[in-house]
Symmetry: C2
Subunit: 450 residues, 2 copies
Amino acid sequence: MASTVRTTPLDEQLTALLAVEDLTGMNALLADAAPEELAPALERLTPKRRAVAFRLLPKDRALAVFEEFSPALEGDLVQSLRDSEVAALFAGLEPDDRVQLLDELPAALAPRLLRDLTPKERELTATVLGYPKGSIGRRMSPEYVSVRAEHTAREALERVRVRVDDAETVYTLPVLGAERHVEGVVSLRDLMRAAPGTPVAELMVEAVVAAAEEDDETAARRCAERGLLALPIVDSETRLVGILTIDDAVRVLQEEESEDVARQGGVEPLRRPYLSTPIREIVSSRIVWLLVLAIGATLTVQVLSVFEETLEQVTVLALFVPLLIGTGGNTGNQAATTVTRALAIDDVRPRDLCRVLSREFRSGLLLGALLGLLGFAIAALVFEPAIGLVIGLTLVAVCTMASTVGGVMPLVARAIRVDPAVFSNPFITTFVDAIGLVVYFLIARAVLGL
Amino acid sequence: MASTVRTTPLDEQLTALLAVEDLTGMNALLADAAPEELAPALERLTPKRRAVAFRLLPKDRALAVFEEFSPALEGDLVQSLRDSEVAALFAGLEPDDRVQLLDELPAALAPRLLRDLTPKERELTATVLGYPKGSIGRRMSPEYVSVRAEHTAREALERVRVRVDDAETVYTLPVLGAERHVEGVVSLRDLMRAAPGTPVAELMVEAVVAAAEEDDETAARRCAERGLLALPIVDSETRLVGILTIDDAVRVLQEEESEDVARQGGVEPLRRPYLSTPIREIVSSRIVWLLVLAIGATLTVQVLSVFEETLEQVTVLALFVPLLIGTGGNTGNQAATTVTRALAIDDVRPRDLCRVLSREFRSGLLLGALLGLLGFAIAALVFEPAIGLVIGLTLVAVCTMASTVGGVMPLVARAIRVDPAVFSNPFITTFVDAIGLVVYFLIARAVLGL
């Protein structure tokens, strides 16, 4: 066959590597290949192989090659990139490999790849796009109507009328410049308000955008809080790749909210309505956390057994254990809840650690002082002044410690990329319980001279 | 003066009652007055008195009288109804009096009353409208563009073009029939899509609406969950009184969310960003809860002192106290969190009490069995079988109890009109702690034969 004669090593090497699913090897090979040989080599591969090879190209080259292809071939490529086998191949990659191997797709291609897919198909295809799980790139819609700054209001409105059926929204229109760069957005309302001849350039406003790899909650919150009907989603060079509409943004936020609320209560979020979730699933959404916490709580058993002797001497000390650790836990949770929420709505950022630390330390101290006084008074009356002193001092110490730990934990969680909601409340309680007990008995020994 | 000659007792009586701010009396008097004498009598009052008297009229009569008035007088009335003194007078009423005295305002009047007001002024005027605090009536906007079913798409679009400036949204248009009845909604998009001659009747869809006195969170959630850009707000006869746009709906939901999250952690929501809230305020947002819970926790001290003797005999029992009540608290919180959330998103309703009860009982039993087995094994190994048995049995009992109580509490809270978020988690912990200890020591006594 003529083609076999002209065969260059490149496409054969690619075929060989693909046979053993060595994507890393292909990636390296493609990175070194001379641009001029890429297009012809890829054209010679079977559609699926071509798709895989193409996807492994660095962004700039991918664009160059894509533009080399004939329209027919472009169409094929889009089809094969959507192919479930191809998708599965990339889905199989470790997330971090994926980041290394998959450069962003050219903005010119991404929307075409996602268009006319069901959300489910889209989710699958998103893996091919290389947008990480939980990124807004997986939630965006490619169905938008864009206009150009040089259009007149009339022309823009005409575009809307033509595209009105297959667009997610026509109320907020991204204004695109050369190479799909987002230059601004214009609202349908302003287009209708304006004189037909007015250029879009005069009507558009600066665009609030989100990057496709950005965390979906952050992007959704931005959309919701600015009261925007739609948020253009862009690639690293602010080229338009999709759009997030307010209703999808709200959906994202509600999911996140359910998750946070659940985690804060130490439960895994349920996948379906409570009443239709089988008991088995409810139990499994709770058991893991309960075990973790129970195991954590064995710490308290060990602590207490260390002080067992002290307990035998002064059994009355045991009476206050639940009260003291309970108060500690509550103070910790209060601090954690406040800071976690502040983090979620961006009132606080990890770099505010020191400020949060000092605020929670002072709050805790103040709370401890108030409760301590009360505790001292009551315990001194009901039992004896010495006991009162122990209780009072412990309350001050425990509240200060709990509030500080509780306030800082969420920031630590965020810093080490754990959902603050998970990490904070349940952990704090367990942690605070153990430390609290140590403090309690040390103070007791000191005061009662044991 | 001529007018004095024609003075009928009615307006004099009204004046007299108003002098002593006896709104109840006025209300009764107006309810009995013959319709034909109402309009003339009101016309003779001073603007502010007229406003107050008018506001106290039953809805149907108010409408009749309003239509009697000359346009000029209508304008005056709207003005004086907005008057801060008048508003203050009604704001002074007890909420329940208000409900008794203030019938809804005629739908024809409500939007006029709210138009062109700042949110602050609107909030004040809302008291005159008689919409309860926390109702969507206080959040709605009167700036909407409405169309009629018999309009053609062209006519409707023309209306939009004219009103585009002073409308909150032009993307969702309520379709009004006789007497402002909401017959449906039509989207700007469908108007643009349709042939110019198409009647709105063919383009409109059934309207999802909210009643003005409906809870704002419920209404906002409906708007957000259906992905609607705007929700018409109607009176008890589905007459349009305002509109809720998605961005306002999102704002409402976010406020509610912050509140729930805070309450669940036993803190009062902060009024401003965390970092800019004075320590004093942070402390006061926490101290009340801490005190309540601490006082609740004294229960545990009492329980333990009852069993002090048992403790002295077997000090080892004290070692498990934090572990056991901790686990109980966690199980309770898990159940409470799940059910509270389910309530919030309407997955569960108060009448589902029995189903929730049985589900949480079974879940708790299962969780308890799992943890109990583990607890038994460990405690039996480390200490002795008898202790293991006590721990195991207690875990079963405590988990079952905690999960059931935790699941039911939020429903109880909702039933007695307390925010479930407040009532559940912190309370459960305290409650479960006390009961848990009793169970623990009873089991211990039985098993160890003390």
